[in-house]
């Protein structure tokens, strides 16, 4: 009887697969299956009771003609831009500052990073108290001779009341990302530029920015995804109010699914959110890719 010959490579592949199997199974159960289930439910009417009823594109038609959903899209865009454009700009400035020989820079780095490690729920509760009509921020404004601002009760102020703590909380993370990128740029480039007579701005324009581009790309992608799928600050601080002024897509999905029991519509919203993130990411990839070429 001939012996079964298994090559070394095949044996290695089998072992590799065996080691990866638990992770693959977990990923399949907790990531792939929910995603596929979401696509399935998006074309069904389902209230968690009974069996899903196929409704074709009705959920998408309902959402796309819903003024409330259009408002959540605008709110989400406003939050993402209002938070992450300043965050990315400030984080770059902060990283450049902390990458120099400034005294106590390690202390500043730690202070800058502290908000990142605090739970978003705690941050949101604390800022909600600070923004109360008679809270610390309004007390300070009155002391300085300004009017109180109804931060959480005004449809124009509430979106900013959510953005301000978000900038405070997110800044540290992107500073660290940029700082890591800056530290990979060899000093010799700056020294050569200085010998050639380049100033600080020219060095930034022609050395720092081009060499930091992969990091900028990564940070922007992460920022867009974080901005579009934001949930906790709005959910905790305002519950999406007042009058829907801070209701973002993720809050609307949660509410539609779990408070209203409209799983099909919530799934359709999730599919649209997925499409939005995908399109934005591909667009960014194209823009950065074109710049690279």
């Amino acid at each position: 009887m001939p012996r079964l010959r298994i090559s070394v490579r095949a044996r290695q592949n089998a072992w590799g697969f065996a080691f990866a199997l638990p992770a693959v199974v977990l990923f399949g159960v907790f990531a792939v299956y929910p995603i596929l289930r979401t696509f399935y439910l998006s074309v069904h009417r389902y209230s968690l009771v009974g069996t899903p009823e196929y409704v074709g594109a009705a959920n998408f038609r309902f959402i796309l003609t819903d003024p409330g959903f259009a408002q959540t899209l605008r709110n989400t865009g406003f939050y993402a831009l209002g938070t992450y454009v300043p965050v990315l700009a400030l984080a770059l400035v902060m990283a450049l500052a902390l990458n120099t020989g400034v005294p106590f820079r390690n202390v500043f780095r730690v202070i800058n990073f502290i908000p990142v490690v605090i739970s978003w729920a705690i941050v949101a509760i604390v800022w909600k108290i600070l923004f109360h009509h008679q809270g610390l921020i309004n007390q300070a404004l009155v002391q300085l001779g300004f009017e109180r601002i109804p931060w959480l009760q005004s449809t124009s102020a509430a979106p900013w009341a959510v953005i301000i703590p978000s900038i405070w909380k997110e800044l540290g993370f992107y500073t660290v990302i940029f700082l890591a990128g800056l530290q990979t740029i060899p000093r010799i480039f700056y020294e050569a530029a200085r010998i050639d007579g380049a100033g600080t701005l020219q060095a930034f324009r022609f050395i720092t920015l081009p060499l930091l581009r992969p990091i900028l790309f990564f940070a922007t992608i992460i920022a867009v995804i974080e901005g579009v799928k934001v949930f906790i600050p709005q959910f905790v601080m305002t519950g999406g109010g007042p009058s829907g002024a801070t209701k973002v897509i993720a809050v609307s999905i949660y509410e539609t699914a779990f408070a209203f029991g409209r799983m099909g519509r919530a799934a359709a919203m999730s599919v649209l959110l997925f499409a939005i993130v995908l399109i934005l990411t591909l667009t960014q990839n194209l823009v950065y890719g074109r710049d690279r070429s």
Partner: protein, 421 residues
């Protein structure tokens, strides 16, 4: 040898415990500290009287209560016994088959008539659909106006003052409000509670029941919230803010565990209170409670007073596999109306409510009963959570941004018509 003996003893004990505690009932309620205390005490007493049954009691935070409960029941992971508001019960839970009709035998009754005779005539209506009863009342609510008398006297009004109409309330409440040097309101003469969507809709019903406002038509096919009656109901509330300067929603503490926190902390002189709220105020500030008086809520037509009635009901999960035991447990909870009355200030709508020994010590017992007599159940409408959320958004735009009432109601009607789709 000694270790082996210990092991055998431990195993025997474990087996004996398992044999005794064969049935486990899970029970969830929302947060209300006095209610939670009594629930815990009654659970312990029930388990002591029924060693074969174990009750696991869990409290859900108020702001997550409705979502968690309906998702848990819908997915088959909910508790055996729930305590739920009549609107949610009749609009969502019963139509979706999430709870079961009452088990008379397990509850210890021979007939539905016998059970009904235990309660005031409308006592079971909040959990009844098509003549089938699905729950027993844990609390029966209506409203009175709570007044902090020293504020009233300080503003030059007599201690026995009581408003007959909303205008009378608004005028006096406006004079009780206080402002800082810059003209910012710091104290409110009268205000309501601004919490989650359920609270907004619930409080609107106080005015809506008097003006004849309904969110949907009788058939439940179309919203009629853009009616003049609904505009009038909302205008009563809005006038307290814009016309009389009595209320200011921006000043609310927004505290969902103790909803009457603004009154307790002294930033509001007058507010609505339901029976359960009296205990919160008494616990929160005994001195303030001692200087508090309750009077009937003002009326649109004082000659024909109308008070809205709402309730919470204990019901049993349709997926529960211990339904008879769950109904037995509910019967035990319901068999202490005196303790619910005096410890938690819950009226359980029992027929002999006024004859209970504890009723003598129950504050304003006669007035509550008189108010209940003029009571009518709040409108039951489909998709309660979704409707309430849309109503809240509309009310916020009126109360916080001074949006035009009629125009807002036209937009709200479109939203509510979409809720029906």
């Amino acid at each position: 040898m000694r270790t082996a003996l210990h092991l055998v003893a431990a195993l025997t004990l474990a087996l004996a415990t398992t044999a005794l505690a064969q049935t486990t009932i899970t029970f969830w309620s929302h947060t209300h500290p006095p209610m939670v205390d009594l629930n815990e005490a009654l659970v312990a007493e029930f388990m002591a009287a029924n060693p074969d049954i174990r009750v696991e009691y869990q409290v859900i935070p108020n702001n997550l209560f409705f979502e968690q409960m309906i998702v848990a029941l819908s997915t088959g992971t909910g508790p055996d016994v729930i305590n739920m508001g009549n609107v949610q019960l009749t609009s969502d839970y019963i139509p979706r088959g999430l709870v079961v009709p009452i088990d008379l035998e397990a509850s210890g009754y021979e007939s539905l008539e016998q059970l009904r005779s235990e309660y005031v005539p409308a006592g079971l209506d909040g959990a009844t659909v098509d003549g089938v009863v699905y729950g027993r009342p844990s609390e029966f609510n209506t409203d009175m106006l709570m007044i902090y008398v020293p504020d009233l006297v300080a503003a030059g009004y007599p201690e026995d003052w009581a408003p007959a109409t909303w205008d009378e309330l608004g005028e006096v409440a406006g004079n009780l409000s206080r402002f800082d040097e810059a003209g910012n309101q710091t104290h409110r003469g009268f205000d309501l509670v601004y919490l989650h969507a359920g609270w907004y809709a619930n409080q609107l019903q106080v005015f809506a029941s008097q003006t004849g406002c309904r969110f949907y038509n009788e058939e439940g096919t179309e919203s009629i919230i853009n009616s003049p009656e609904c505009a009038e109901a909302i205008r009563i509330w809005a006038d307290m803010i814009y016309e009389y300067g009595a209320a200011d929603p921006r000043l609310t503490a927004g505290e969902s565990t103790v909803p009457l926190q603004d009154y307790i902390s002294g930033t509001v002189s007058m507010t609505f209170v339901q029976p359960w709220g009296m205990e919160l105020v008494r616990e929160g500030d005994p001195e303030r409670w001692a200087n508090t008086k309750l009077v009937p809520v003002p009326q649109v037509d004082p000659e024909n007073p109308i008070n809205r009635v709402s309730g919470y009901y204990w019901a049993v999960n349709a997926n529960s596999n211990v339904q008879p035991e769950a109904w037995r447990f509910i019967d035990f909870l319901a068999s202490h109306p005196g303790r619910w009355l005096i410890d938690v200030n819950f009226l359980q709508a029992t027929a002999d409510m006024d004859e209970l020994a504890e009723a003598e010590d129950f504050p304003y017992a006669d007035q509550w009963l008189t108010t209940l007599e003029a009571g009518q159940f709040t409108e039951v409408y489909p998709h309660a959570n979704e409707t309430n959320e849309a109503v809240r958004a509309a009310l916020e735009s009126i109360f916080l941004a001074n949006a035009d009432i009629e125009q807002t109601l036209e937009t709200l009607k479109v939203s509510l018509d979409r809720v029906l789709q």
